[in-house]
Amino acid sequence: QPQTGRFYSPLVLSIAREEGISMADLEYLPGTGSEGRVTKKDILDYVAGGKKPLSGEASSPKPQAPS
């Protein structure tokens, strides 16, 4: 499920920006932090895993091609 309006820490946003992960993608990234928050580790794991398309792939517009 996309998590619209979810809080992202400045660091998570910075990593997303640097790695070309769109907000739309971010919303599908599962968070392991308190109350489902996406942590630095969650997004770095996603980056390390090759930024595989998330479950929301079909419904979310994807500006960049997966690497």
Partner: protein
């Protein structure tokens, strides 16, 4: 019949007593076994009494430098016994406070020595030798540490002493050699030097406060030399001859062997865990390098038996022990605590200047392959430091260039131990440098130096 609890804690230090209070809040019936004084090393022989001594030293410095502030004082001195007595009084007051908190939280203080008999069973041996069995669903070991001894420096309690004796001396040693320059060694060196002893610090590694960032070590050494402390690094005490009137200390340095005469040698070479005779071997609890091995929520390999504080791996600090205790009992009570992030633990040294740091040092960050931005702001450029007359020291911050992560902060100077919490919280909240630069710090404060150091890392510093 055996005493029955939901939870029994062995040891009432900041690991044990905090775990007990949190457990009681969560509805558990708790007993705490303690063989000495409630509050453990921290309240009775560690954090608290040393800070009381250091406060006396700090005020004594003010008395001696009254003229710097336009003030006058004659006949400046002290009653060494009164300084010690004040420290003991503060420690006793804190220990009594734990007694009060235990009563308030309906926690039983079971005075005596605890030993594991089996999962769910602890034997309590009281001072008079009588034994009792205590049963509990969960058992937490929090037995802490004691001073480590080196073969070259057997502690005799008179000429070669450890921290307990160092904080209860009958009189000021004229000449003191402190072996080891971790927080404990440095705090005592500063205290005794300020009170008037001739002090030599001997450190095995190439720099004092060796866990700190190199620049911090350099500043600390400079400050120590300024007040007349003899600092020997890359140096090792090979022998202490106590046969004469004083002590004859043989020190191996890069430049050859050196002899130092003194009255007392303080061995501050680290701590050793209290794991003897508590049933560890009998129950097959896993221990490695003197520390009990636990999972993320402090359970040992034996279900229902937990361990926290100085006896488990991680930095041996009071706030770590307490945090571990809370997480441990929240898990026991069925909550879902997050595991402790050991990368975000602040460390403090309360000499003058104070040291406070968290995260990676510059060298560590480089070794881990980070491309880093470093910012440094000296207190000599701080308005508050000028007004207060405390211009020594700096704040140094380290950011990851790529993502902006705040990798580490290293501070040395007045009040920095009160400033490091900002960094801990900001890192926990996953800040980047940008937010710190743009967070409006109050003027004039020492804390502005954090904002300025962050700005320096990004080429935006104002006051440099």
């Amino acid at each position: 019949m055996a005493l029955q609890y939901d939870l029994v804690v062995v040891g009432s230090g900041p690991g044990g007593y905090v775990a007990a209070i949190r457990a009681s809040q969560l509805g558990l019936k708790v007993g705490v076994i303690e063989r000495e004084s409630l509050g453990g090393i921290c309240l009775n022989w560690g954090c608290i009494p040393t800070k009381a001594l250091l406060k006396s030293a700090q005020v004594f410095e003010y008395l001696n430098h009254a003229a710097d502030y336009g003030l006058k004082a004659e006949g400046v001195g002290y009653d060494f016994g009164a300084v010690i007595k004040r420290s003991r009084g503060v420690a006793e007051g804190m220990s009594k406070g734990i007694n009060f908190l235990f009563k308030k939280n309906k926690i039983d203080a079971l005075m005596g020595t605890g030993k594991l008999l089996a999962p769910g069973k602890v034997e309590l041996t009281k001072a008079d030798g009588t034994k009792e069995t205590v049963e509990a669903k969960s058992i937490i070991l929090a037995t802490g540490t004691r001073a480590r001894q080196l073969p070259s420096m057997p502690i005799d309690g008179q000429k070669i002493i450890e921290y307990r004796k160092a904080m209860t001396m009958e009189q000021l040693p004229k000449r003191l050699v402190v072996v080891g320059s971790g927080a404990i060694g440095v705090e005592f060196a500063y205290f005794y030097r300020t009170m008037g002893s001739e002090v030599t610090v001997v450190e095995y590694l190439p720099r004092i406060v060796p866990v700190e960032d190199e620049e911090v070590s350099r500043q600390m050494e400079k400050s120590f030399r300024k007040i007349g402390i003899n600092v020997l690094t890359s140096a090792e005490v090979t022998k202490v001859d106590t046969s004469g009137a004083g002590c004859h200390v043989t020190i191996k340095t890069a430049k050859g062997e050196q002899q130092v005469e003194c009255d007392v040698v303080l061995s501050a070479v680290g701590v050793q865990t209290n794991l003897e005779n508590i049933g560890i071997e009998e129950l097959g609890i896993k221990v490695e390098k003197g520390r009990v091995i636990v999972d993320d929520f402090y359970q040992t390999n034996v279900p229902g038996i937990y361990a926290i504080g100085d006896i488990v791996p991680g930095p041996a600090l009071a706030h770590v022990a307490s945090a571990e205790g809370i997480i441990c009992v929240e898990k026991i009570a069925g909550h879902h605590p997050e595991p402790l992030n050991y990368q975000n633990i602040p460390g403090c040294t309360y000499a003058s200047p104070e040291i406070a740091s968290v995260g990676l040092t510059e060298a560590e960050a480089k070794n881990q392959g980070y491309d880093i931005l470093v910012g440094k702001f000296p207190f000599s450029a701080s308005g508050k430091a000028s007004a207060a007359g405390v211009k020594d020291g700096f704040v140094k911050v380290i950011f990851d260039k790529k993502y902006g992560e705040w990798l580490g902060a290293h501070m040395i100077g007045a009040n920095v131990t009160e400033m490091i919490a900002e960094v801990v919280v900001a890192r926990k909240l996953e800040t980047t440098g940008h937010e710190i630069i743009k967070a409006v710090h109050p003027h004039p404060t020492m804390s502005e130096a954090i904002m300025e150091a962050a700005a320096a890392a990004y080429g935006e510093v104002i006051h440099l």
